[in-house]
């Protein structure tokens, strides 16, 4: 009994400990909880700090519209690093991957659908007064 407790319980702390239920061995292995090495956390942390410095530096150089793409690109990269490593989604199950992406997919959908807002001042509509009403 004691050994079984260890395999179910401590299986999480020992990376090799998934011997409990042979029938589901491969399934089990896939779902095993992952202990991330400290070095991975340190590298992630360092990468986040470097990216932050780059984004601050880049914001003081005027590159026109490219500035926005750079700053958002870096922010998305940083978010991905946090999600994959700090939040351990990289080592998560497929269901975790699906759930972790859901919110962001919804977010992209909302942005995509709302992008028609840009086109709304093309045709003058009574009652619609955009801020910069210099229509052609």
């Amino acid at each position: 009994m004691t050994s079984e407790v260890t395999s179910g319980h401590g299986g999480d702390s020992h990376s090799s400990g998934h011997d409990g239920h042979d029938g589901h061995a491969s399934h089990q292995q896939h779902r095993q909880h992952h202990i991330t090495p400290v070095s991975v956390y340190l590298k992630t942390f360092a990468a986040l700090l470097i990216l932050m410095l780059i984004t601050i530096y880049a914001s003081f150089i005027n590159l026109g519209a490219a500035n926005n793409f750079i700053s958002m690109g870096i922010a998305i990269t940083k978010a991905l690093l946090v999600i994959l490593f700090f939040m351990q989604v990289k080592y998560g199950t497929k269901l975790t991957w699906l759930w972790a992406s859901l919110g962001f997919i919804w977010f992209l959908l909302m942005f995509g659908i709302s992008s028609d807002y840009v086109t709304r001042k093309w045709i003058p509509v009574p009652g619609w007064q955009p801020a910069h009403s210099e229509q052609k």
Partner: protein
């Protein structure tokens, strides 16, 4: 009547099946239970993405409509303090990741250590944020009756108090106010999340300290960690969008 009574013989406690005490009866095994917990936490985070997402959309819309106003108004924000706060929050996320690791390895000492550091960082973040907010209140930049916008020069926010010279601006008051409405709503909501994080961590710290049996299961700390990393992600986007508008 008892749960044990209706369990198949092999599943009741202490009869040789030997599943860990923190495993609930309805779960096949610990990995399944862990997955359910993680997915449940992510479901909550999806709702968080939804309401923060709506605010980010509002921000994008207004910035698209009034790019010049946003450029002018963002100079009131202090890049140095914002940058320090970013470092503080990223560091706290790292500490929390280490705390979750300590929980997974079942080290009480290290859990207490890393969670305490996380709480300290959270307080530092709120302290710096308070300094920033106070400045905005002092300059009548909090939206409402007393709101009065004025422009500051190119590096207004960066070079603080002493060389503070309000300039006559032709920026429309209402549109500048909208910038600060969004700023206070989004950073304020983020700040509330930080406060909630501190409360959750403080309770967990005490429960670990006094060896509450529930804390034998590391998933509680791990889920608090997921929440905290999400708060960090929100700030990762808030920082460039408010403090680093190029132009």
């Amino acid at each position: 009547m008892s749960v044990e009574a209706i369990q198949p013989a092999g599943h009741a406690h202490g009869n040789g099946h030997g599943h860990p005490p923190e495993q609930a009866h309805q779960f096949e095994d610990m990995p399944q239970q862990n997955e359910v917990y993680v997915v449940g936490m992510w479901t909550f985070l999806v709702t968080e993405i939804m309401f923060f997402g709506a605010l980010f959309l509002a921000y994008t819309t207004y910035r698209m409509l009034h790019p010049d106003v946003f450029l002018d108004a963002h100079r009131h924000l202090n890049v140095t303090l914002g940058g320090i706060n970013t470092v503080v929050l990223l560091t706290s996320s790292f500490f929390m990741a280490m705390g979750v690791r300590a929980a997974q390895l079942r080290s009480q000492t290290w859990q207490l250590f890393w969670i305490a550091l996380t709480i300290l960082c959270a307080f530092a973040f709120l302290g710096i944020k308070t300094v920033e907010y106070k400045e905005k209140f002092d300059h009548n930049l909090f939206p409402g009756q007393t709101f009065h916008y004025f422009s500051v020069g190119e590096h207004g926010g960066a070079s603080e108090t002493a060389a503070f010279t309000p300039e006559k601006s032709n920026v429309p008051q209402g549109e500048a106010e909208m910038f600060f409405v969004l700023y206070f709503v989004m950073t304020g909501l983020h700040g509330i999340h930080v406060i909630i994080g501190i409360i959750v961590f403080a309770v967990m710290w005490l429960m670990i300290k006094f060896k509450h049996p529930a804390m034998n299961y590391y998933m509680w700390v791990e889920m608090a960690g997921l929440y905290w990393h999400f708060v960090d992600i929100v700030w990762i986007f808030l920082f460039p969008l408010y403090y680093l508008i190029p132009g």
